[in-house]
């Protein structure tokens, strides 16, 4: 990705879409979040969710994969143009993660992430800290997830 010095508030870091199918919702939940409403259609129908829905962690992890894929595509273009690239990561953490609505079988979530804060790292002179706001919206335009996350991004070599 770009060097920290070249990032600006409001820059769009990624966009992407993921559709959640029943098989992957259940497969993810069996590994990490086997609550009845994430693994069993019948139990989910009888729960307050009313139907099978994805673990909130699945909704977040699907975004992470889209981000990595998006960044890889951008970096291939940069490499083709011979531009130097900044290293990034790991993330320090996240805050204000909201699961606003359930993600049901067949929902297509459109994600986007934009830069909301840029500050120097206190511990790493070679890196800055980028905070992004990520939102995911379903096919009906309803937000299903939002969160802020903060990641190291390499600064342009002096």
């Amino acid at each position: 990705m770009k060097y920290f010095d070249d990032l600006r508030l409001g820059d769009l870091v990624m966009t992407g879409q993921h559709t959640f199918h029943a098989d992957e919702i259940k497969a993810f939940a069996r590994r990490f979040d086997p609550q009845p409403f994430h693994v069993d259609e019948e139990a989910a129908a009888n729960s307050h969710f009313g139907a099978l829905c994805a673990s909130g962690w699945h909704t977040a992890a699907a975004w992470m994969r889209l981000l990595v894929d998006h960044r890889r595509a951008v970096e291939e273009d940069m490499r083709a143009r011979g531009e130097p690239m900044a290293g990034s990561g790991p993330a320090l953490g996240l805050r204000d993660l909201k699961w606003l609505k359930p993600v049901y079988v067949g929902d297509a979530i459109n994600y986007k992430s934009e830069i909301t804060e840029l500050r120097m790292s206190g511990s790493r002179l070679t890196h800055g800290l980028m905070t992004i706001l990520t939102t995911g919206v379903n096919q009906n335009g309803a937000p299903v997830i939002s969160f802020y996350s903060t990641t190291f991004v390499e600064r342009r070599p002096a």
Binding site: F32, R65, G89, P90, K98, F152
Partner: protein, 153 residues
């Protein structure tokens, strides 16, 4: 055994779950599927990153935490899911071969203003290693069914 209801979660209560061994294979498998960055996939590439060696995706840590609290108490409760996470801090890397435990603390509980059948409990959940160092901490609110809907909390 009867299920844990909202009324059973008391402010200040602490529980520890685990240990759980985290293997290199599962770290790489999670990363390959959800977070395929070199620092989570390949030792040689990871050495040259700020992670300083192969470490689990932060999302993997969160997912392992989720599974451990699910097995620890959520699956034996009237869980109604969660509205979200206040904060996650990835403080130290989760390395292959580490044996992790969870320490869960109930920070506060309150009845739902809107839904008489539901109560909320805020938890601090920490992933700790063999030396009691905190690798990750997370603050979240969980929703539970009430044993006595609408009764004074």
């Amino acid at each position: 055994m009867s299920k844990l209801h909202w009324e059973d979660f008391k402010q200040g209560a602490v529980a520890v779950y685990g240990p759980r061994l985290v293997t290199r294979e599962e770290i790489v498998a999670f990363a390959a599927e959800f977070d395929p960055q070199p620092m989570h996939l390949d030792e040689a590439a990871a050495v040259n990153t700020l992670l300083g060696g192969l470490g689990a995706s932060g999302w993997h840590s969160c997912c392992l935490l989720m599974r451990m609290i699910a097995d620890g108490f959520i699956l034996n409760s009237t869980s109604m899911g969660s509205p979200g996470i206040d904060e996650v801090k990835w403080l130290k890397p989760l390395r292959p071969g580490m044996s992790i435990r969870l320490r869960s603390t109930v920070l506060e509980t309150r009845a739902s203003g809107k839904r008489p059948e539901m109560g909320l409990a805020k938890f601090l959940v920490e992933i700790i290693d063999d030396n009691d160092a905190v690798l990750t901490n997370l603050t979240t609110t969980l929703m539970f069914g009430r044993r006595h809907p609408g009764a004074a909390a």
